[in-house]
């Protein structure tokens, strides 16, 4: 039985249809020009179909900011509930902010020890809002051996690459536990605190996970739900706090969005060439920079294999998730046939495309 190794791949670059599980995402994500504005210091809304790459772009954006070592501070806010309360989102953002701040401290534990007593107390006040409670988070900090363990337990990315958790982390857990908290902080105070104690210059709040909402509610209901956030865009922008929405395409024409001058909109759309590039980048990384086209593992008379695959997708299928699935099927067939080469008939087979809905 052949495997992808025989074709020259170090790993399967088409394994994950769900980008949140793909550890190589940062290495091969294709970012269409139109949505590069996501990384700018301004409020933006990225609109795409389910499977169109919103979450992948959100993760890339978050990683981009964490790579700045938090000087541009990312906060990922994915509403996990529904409520019509006016401050529902703000409470949610505060929890996410607290979680990110906790992970920042775990990433640079010695930072805490250099803070003023006032700074420590305020920080403790902020951390009281962490999801699952501060006690649980502190216990996780004590129990984890590596930052990756902590990331996995708390579901928040780290800001550094410390090789392991050390006595500084134990000390941090102890001192945080013993510290008396400042009175509860407002969200605005919490933003200011990050600047004061961490030296953060801007905060980027990434709002994602709203596709599911559209399955049960109308576009108008979604817009009404996020309206409190849209109302604070300009005020927050003046404080270098930028909201970045990852929204379903269905609301792209809504005046509530298009009439907002401070919000830049961009559609995350794909054509055949971009989809072919999605494949090429993955092939390049997975083959350890040996080749960047499936042509390299195809019969000599097959050319532009990835472009052919992209062209075979129906109009509504022209999405990264679909082309990844198509490649997955194609390579699976080749490997199962015990060959190390893609033949013209494999490409013909892949016309029997498998369409998947949102995962």
């Amino acid at each position: 039985m052949k495997s992808l190794l025989d074709l020259g791949f170090g790993f399967d670059p088409f394994k994950h249809l769900d980008s949140t599980r793909d550890v190589h995402l940062q290495e091969y994500l294709v970012i269409p020009k139109a949505v590069e504005i996501t990384l700018l210091d301004q409020p933006v809304a990225i609109l795409a179909q389910p499977g169109g790459g919103k979450s992948a772009l959100r993760i890339y954006t978050s990683n981009f900011y964490t790579d700045s070592r938090g000087i541009r501070f990312p906060v990922t806010y994915i509403p996990d509930d529904y409520s019509t309360e006016n401050d529902f989102h703000f409470k949610g953002i505060k929890k996410s902010l607290a979680s990110a701040a906790f992970m920042y401290l775990a990433s640079y534990p010695d930072l805490f020890f250099a803070l003023s007593p006032d700074g420590r107390q305020k920080l403790k006040g902020l951390l009281l809002d962490v999801p699952l409670g501060l006690d649980f988070n502190l216990q996780a900090l004590r129990d984890s051996r590596f930052l990756s363990d902590l990331e996995q337990t708390l579901g928040t990315p780290a800001f550094s690459n410390l090789p392991r958790l050390d006595r500084a982390h134990k000390k941090l857990a102890r001192e945080l536990e013993e510290e008396s908290p400042f009175e509860s902080l407002s969200l605005d105070d919490s933003f200011a605190l990050l600047n004061e104690v961490f030296g953060v210059k801007s905060i980027h709040i990434l709002v994602d996970g709203l596709d599911g909402f559209m399955e049960t509610q109308s576009p108008q209901a979604l817009l009404a739900w996020i309206e409190p956030l849209l109302n604070v865009l300009e005020t927050w922008e003046k404080k270098n706090i930028y909201l970045k929405f990852f929204l379903p395409m269905d609301i792209s024409d809504a005046p509530a969005l298009t009439n907002l001058h401070s919000l830049r909109l961009a559609a995350l759309t794909w054509d055949d060439h971009l989809l072919a590039e999605v494949i090429r980048r993955r092939v390049f990384v997975a083959s350890r920079r040996t080749f960047d086209s499936l042509d390299a593992v195809s019969a000599p008379d097959l050319r532009n294999v990835e472009l052919s695959l992209a062209r075979q997708l129906g109009e509504k299928e022209k999405l990264p998730r679909q082309i990844i699935l198509k490649c997955q099927n194609l390579l699976h067939k080749v490997v199962q046939s015990g060959r190390i080469e893609i033949l013209p008939e494999d490409l013909f087979f892949s016309r029997e495309s498998f369409y998947v809905t949102a995962i």
């Binding site: 938090g70 550094s160 920079r289 080469e341």
Partner: protein, 399 residues
């Protein structure tokens, strides 16, 4: 270090006005960004970057810092604190803390105090991102494409990404071979400048200039031939001009240097065995795939595919080969000098005949790709008469 071509000497630098102008415009018109100089092996990227570093050191408003990921020597920068050079070995992941330490000290960065030595790397990287000094850092990194992927990824994570978080910063890189996929958008969208081979008349002018300075011992009548045979690649020019052997032998040596030093250490002693296959590949005029050339390379062998795979992997590892569009392509700084050398030695006819047969076979086997495989053979290398005379006359011209 015994190889003179791996020692930077600003006095011998072959000027590249337009490239310097590009850098000057870039740093004057922008606040931040990345520039990447790409070129073939021996095209002069390293020398250019070192000379750029020397010039940037003279500008008060900029804070250049040079990192060479390949072994190189620059005695004239010996006292400079703002560099990381190693004359004997390539850069490794373990060198990152040392570089960060030097960068932090040079850029006057305060980082978080810690008792744990293993945390320092991350704290320095954070300090780099939070840097608040007035002067603009310019980080120059040589041979970034050629280092192993895991080293490059670590380098990007700990050095490039944090420094690029600053509002005013320039990153200038150089590399050969296939462009890596960067994680940072600034690097993905970097301005790319190609370092092309030098024009023939320019090579001659430079050789004459060096001759007047008393730095060359070759007869000036040979300069045109050197310019022609080197195809304008400065490394080949330098090796040929400094050699005391006949021109053809000097070219042979230069080709060996250009190939040999890029091979992994374990294979360097096999250069003599590997070179004939590289010579054969140099004649393939289309981007090729392994099944296209295995019979041409190892037709008499029992395992032509396995041997071709091995050779291709070796050349990829040496960054002398890259996959580009439709297949693998050998570095042009090897292809053209080798074609000339083969033609002068009269060895190309035999290889061309074999290639002709393979081309015909592939055309027959894959009729839909006939037009493609018809282009497999290069045009016959024609050698101008002006080349022959100095070649015949060429002897050791050293005093």
């Amino acid at each position: 270090m015994s190889q003179p071509y791996k020692i930077f000497n600003s006095a011998e630098f072959t000027d590249r006005h337009s490239e310097f102008e590009r850098v000057e415009t870039f740093t004057k018109e922008r606040n931040r960004g990345a520039l990447i100089f790409e070129g073939e092996r021996g095209s002069g990227k390293t020398t250019f970057l070192f000379e750029l570093y020397r010039r940037l050191n003279e500008q008060r408003e900029l804070r250049p810092f040079l990192i060479s990921l390949s072994p190189y020597s620059a005695p004239e920068f010996e006292s400079n604190k703002n560099k990381w050079l190693n004359t004997d070995r390539s850069f490794q992941k373990d060198d990152i803390p040392v570089v960060l330490n030097r960068l932090a000290s040079y850029l006057e960065i305060d980082s978080i105090e810690t008792d744990d030595r293993e945390f320092k790397k991350d704290y320095f990287a954070r300090g780099l991102a939070y840097r608040s000094a007035q002067a603009t850092p310019v980080l120059l990194v040589d041979s970034i494409y050629e280092c192993p992927d895991d080293t490059r990824i670590e380098f990007e994570k700990f050095i490039l990404a944090p420094i690029l978080a600053s509002e005013r910063v320039f990153v200038i890189l150089s590399g050969r071979g296939k462009r890596p996929i960067w994680s940072r958008p600034e690097l993905r969208d970097a301005d790319i400048i190609k370092i092309e081979p030098l024009q023939s008349n320019f090579v001659i002018e430079q050789l004459e200039k060096l001759n007047k300075q008393g730095k060359l011992k070759r007869d000036p009548s040979e300069y045109a031939t050197i310019a022609y045979l080197s195809c304008g690649y400065p490394l080949i020019v330098r090796v040929m001009a400094e050699s005391n052997k006949q021109l053809l032998t000097a070219l042979d040596e230069a080709i060996n240097i250009i190939i040999g030093e890029t091979l992994p250490e374990r294979e360097q002693k096999n250069l003599e065995n590997i070179r004939p296959f590289i010579e054969k590949l140099a004649l393939v005029d289309i981007p090729f795939r392994i099944p296209d050339v295995d019979e041409y390379l190892y037709g008499d062998d029992r395992e032509p595919r396995a041997k071709t795979n091995h050779l291709i992997n070796l050349l990829l590892e040496s960054y002398l080969l890259r996959y580009e569009g439709k297949g693998y392509q050998l570095s042009q700084s090897i292809v053209h000098p080798i074609r000339k050398w083969l033609a002068l030695k009269g060895r190309d006819s035999e290889y061309m005949e074999q290639l002709q047969q393979i081309s015909a076979k592939l055309q027959e086997e894959y009729p839909s790709a006939r037009a493609w495989y018809q282009k497999m053979l290069p045009a016959k290398t024609s050698l101008p008469n002006t080349v022959f005379h100095p070649l015949k006359a060429s002897k050791a011209h050293y005093a």
